[in-house]
Symmetry: D2
Subunit: 355 residues, 4 copies
Amino acid sequence: MAIPKTMKAAVLFGYGDLRVTQKPVPVLGEGEALLKVGSVAICGSDPAIIAKGWPGHPPLGEFIPGHEFTGTVVAVAPDVTEVKLGERVTVEPHKGCGRCVNCLRGLYTTCLNYGKPEKGHRHYGFSSNGAYAEYAACHVNTLHRLPEAISFEEGALLTTAGTVLYGYERVGGVRPGETVVVTGPGALGLISAQAAKTLGAGRVILTGTREDRLAVGRRMGADITLNARETNVRDAIMELTDGIGADLVVECTGQAGPAAEALDLVRKSGRISYNGIYHEPVTLQLNKIVQWNLLITGPKAEGMWNTERAIPLMVGGRLDLKPLITHRFRLDEINLAFETFTGRAGGAIKVIVNP
Amino acid sequence: MAIPKTMKAAVLFGYGDLRVTQKPVPVLGEGEALLKVGSVAICGSDPAIIAKGWPGHPPLGEFIPGHEFTGTVVAVAPDVTEVKLGERVTVEPHKGCGRCVNCLRGLYTTCLNYGKPEKGHRHYGFSSNGAYAEYAACHVNTLHRLPEAISFEEGALLTTAGTVLYGYERVGGVRPGETVVVTGPGALGLISAQAAKTLGAGRVILTGTREDRLAVGRRMGADITLNARETNVRDAIMELTDGIGADLVVECTGQAGPAAEALDLVRKSGRISYNGIYHEPVTLQLNKIVQWNLLITGPKAEGMWNTERAIPLMVGGRLDLKPLITHRFRLDEINLAFETFTGRAGGAIKVIVNP
Amino acid sequence: MAIPKTMKAAVLFGYGDLRVTQKPVPVLGEGEALLKVGSVAICGSDPAIIAKGWPGHPPLGEFIPGHEFTGTVVAVAPDVTEVKLGERVTVEPHKGCGRCVNCLRGLYTTCLNYGKPEKGHRHYGFSSNGAYAEYAACHVNTLHRLPEAISFEEGALLTTAGTVLYGYERVGGVRPGETVVVTGPGALGLISAQAAKTLGAGRVILTGTREDRLAVGRRMGADITLNARETNVRDAIMELTDGIGADLVVECTGQAGPAAEALDLVRKSGRISYNGIYHEPVTLQLNKIVQWNLLITGPKAEGMWNTERAIPLMVGGRLDLKPLITHRFRLDEINLAFETFTGRAGGAIKVIVNP
Amino acid sequence: MAIPKTMKAAVLFGYGDLRVTQKPVPVLGEGEALLKVGSVAICGSDPAIIAKGWPGHPPLGEFIPGHEFTGTVVAVAPDVTEVKLGERVTVEPHKGCGRCVNCLRGLYTTCLNYGKPEKGHRHYGFSSNGAYAEYAACHVNTLHRLPEAISFEEGALLTTAGTVLYGYERVGGVRPGETVVVTGPGALGLISAQAAKTLGAGRVILTGTREDRLAVGRRMGADITLNARETNVRDAIMELTDGIGADLVVECTGQAGPAAEALDLVRKSGRISYNGIYHEPVTLQLNKIVQWNLLITGPKAEGMWNTERAIPLMVGGRLDLKPLITHRFRLDEINLAFETFTGRAGGAIKVIVNP
């Protein structure tokens, strides 16, 4: 495949000023492959990056955001044998330095050399360039081969699915037959609900305030949905669990109220995973962590190769994220895509940009 | 429900001499419920118990075997509120003493007071009386309520399902997307194959020598079956895994050859669960455990409440064990039932006795 | 040993009204041993119990508090063979029901039948009678034999040591060579500091505000102490850890400020154990749990038999809790003992009552 | 420090033919530091490497063995900031590729690109050149800074200590107060015994056949030693544990008899770590793994950064490996050093070569 010298790319020229322009196609470094970008999904963190940047992002006028994406390998560095030309892949945004103690123990999403490209760290779309572009250069450590059964669009959601799976890994796994409560029917919550069922939960209870989203949750496998506008969630969960509480609560609203209430939904010796982005401090009845012998974790992104774990589940349809994809745009329409996403226009959940 | 003074029961009068006779209905002790027995499944360990007894079994002439069973609560001791009259239950055979350190740490299937009824230990059908009878007295610690959606017959397989789940718990869980090899398509292997998929395995490979059993495995969810009479299993698995090996091997044949070969099927830093009954010593390339950084476990029965975990999975059909039930007999026909089971007459897998 | 009919006991007659009076010596139930009480340590939770009671405590006029204690077995129920007359023991206060799912999985300090003696649950000195008395009846599940090398007084601190060890068990263990920060040099903190070192921590940093307590910490094995009145604790810990943070933070102050600050002291992918009693809600930068991939637990008391684990460590002097014992009183002086404890008179840390 | 062009090095010219000769000082690649070698310890695997090579070793005439070593940094590649000139370091022999799934999950000692230097894998002294030389080039991923308190000679044993610690990590840690049996008082066994105590074991029982080695074990902290020539080890351990068995058995003999017998020494629900090199297949009573609910692991070398964990323990003297160092030689005397080691001349345990 002939690779041009320049490409279309959405570049951040100033905070809030994202524009499609021509840029050089990236040059490959050691261990890297060049991708012809297939699809990019807008992440909940993207609007904030565009509005306010990110610590250590590439210079304004150079910075290409976008970090949930798929593509086709069109070139590889000389040392790369892990992928071949023409292969379709999905990309996870974190590449650790590979030399700090966290990386050496497998914890590359918490690399101690975060934001130091000279040490080999990359965070596509954050501290390194990303994928709102025709081409992107990615290290093989971040590539996962995409079977034919997975489209570019659905494959672009694999990073989020990997985050969900890493959350379950950190919190001790979904244990067979457990009652799992997921709070917040955004993309993360909806995938969390479906994944819990796919991993053997006995019963998945999804809570939220928007009926249309809860309906999506039911289609995606939630056994029970509770609308917090209509129901006292705590009482309902206690009744559903004979007064004991849920085995596992997965908090996906990112809001202080539900984050604090999670402690009221869980059983003695239960577990809580905080998966949201919490912009505000949260006031907790901390004593309950001790008196109820709780375990609490929060997953830093799609760690420990969990993106790869999600692939066979998606192939078999046990993770079916197509219901989340509500809108598609061309790269030229990227600002419209963002407006649709942030405004939840037309019930937008995941909005795809196809360069 | 009027409870008679006596009942029909299959009693072991001498090794190999099991006969149906009249016996007193059991008297309840503290914490016990009386069950009208629904169904009993013949376990692979039953023929050996009948042929040779079991260490510390009740006296010949008194001993009632049978330990995979369901029933209806017809009476309870005064301190029992956990179950109510008329409720349908399945029973797990192990009740720990509750006072040794293993029980206090949750490891009741390896109770250090095994076979000491005076300390509160019970092992129904082994060191205590079991369920080839019209009635059985069981401690509430061993009872699991059966939803209407589960029949007595399928419910009688929940103990085996609990053993499968405990095996997965001990070996670190089925991790999302993993390739799991199950060797041996007996009841334990078939359930292991189905459960792996239900718990999120990416791909389940079932190996065996009998084509009809492998066919059952495919119906129950195995993605790939390998007939060891036709295929070099090791080569096939290496090819299927790009030369790396399986993430997890679950050995269910109970035979020395496959048990040793399990080490050849697993990946570096992989895991093996030995689930069979190994009558012979097994010669292993032990060095591989070290050089390949393996983790090996074997589950002692349905430990840590895993029988309960299986129930919601069965309700939803994610564990569907009905294909295993091939034959049914009345209690009076128990010796015919055993002949059918041990002779695998008519492709017998699980044989049910309905008292 | 002749056992009298009545005994001296400190009885709660009204909230705040604890008086020594004559009471019947307890009658043994199944599984119980009668102890001639050796020593009782005043726990930080005792003053609140005396001031305000505890949910489900025995009736005023009957309730004998006291739950950290040792004694000599002077009688046993007929079914008890685990301990013998004349043996010295320490007692853990929690006895689970043994029949709820938490107990069956080993989590007896979070028994779901808490406060239901009819189900077999006991919490000595809280929901059941305790040990500020000449005699106490205790279930064998709560007894741990005391070697000669351990005095009654030091042995009375084994429950606290068991809580410390359970905290470490819940938070994933002390891992070899780790940097552990312990905040708060009360009894729990001081034992936590010493235990961390005994379990293989590389370096233990103890923080607090009282110089005399920090000095005790240094005598008990803390490598570094930081006085928060003189030093910016966060800066100091970052400097000591090359800007990375501690591997594990054990919060023992029970106060909101340090509880929130714990998140600032820990490394990416680090762990926090909340061990204090938190009377106030705590406002946390919850987002850091997610972004830093943290794991947080809080131990409910001396769970999973950890009291037993502490004994061989104390015998060898690797846990040496004698420096904590600052004052001793007779049972008749119990109110003076409490005043000394709550007023920290004479630098009181652990105050012992010897009935 | 001026670095010469050539250096003295012990080179394998043919199997069994190790000779000291002049070789070029290694040229640094990316991420590497050049070390002036301080001390090298002969490992139990070295004699076999010299006699028979190792899969994929560098060409005869080029291959420099030696993989337990320390040194001083005398040069670094341009991208290296992790260590500085003049710093003293110890080296772990395994460097993973950093791009296979095992490396990405922290399991670099079981790198799937083992023996492929083009992928970044190194195994010093095995598939890459090692340290029986004046200089060695090592990747920063393998370097651990050595505090002044640790000599080059003792520091050369840190890799073995790291292997011992990784063994404990894999088998679930040494849990406080446990009874640990270590079989085989070689270097690995002696360190295992000492480390168990240092990590909080209650009691360490060391077994072996050579009284002088058992005496070293007692000096290094073993509580009890059992001479298998004089004592029935199984009976003694059962007596010491009230008939229950050890919580953890660490097999370090590498011989089939003790490897099989390990199953007889462990308690129900206990753990076994196989740490030896097992040249022969081992015949096990495999059924016991299932019936006794065992967990078995074997550590592949000094994985997951455990070499670093050992350093603070050695600084404080909690790991004191000096008693293991029995002999020292110059590089010119390397063949005499090997003869001393293999012949156990003069009670040789660890033999040091100081280039």
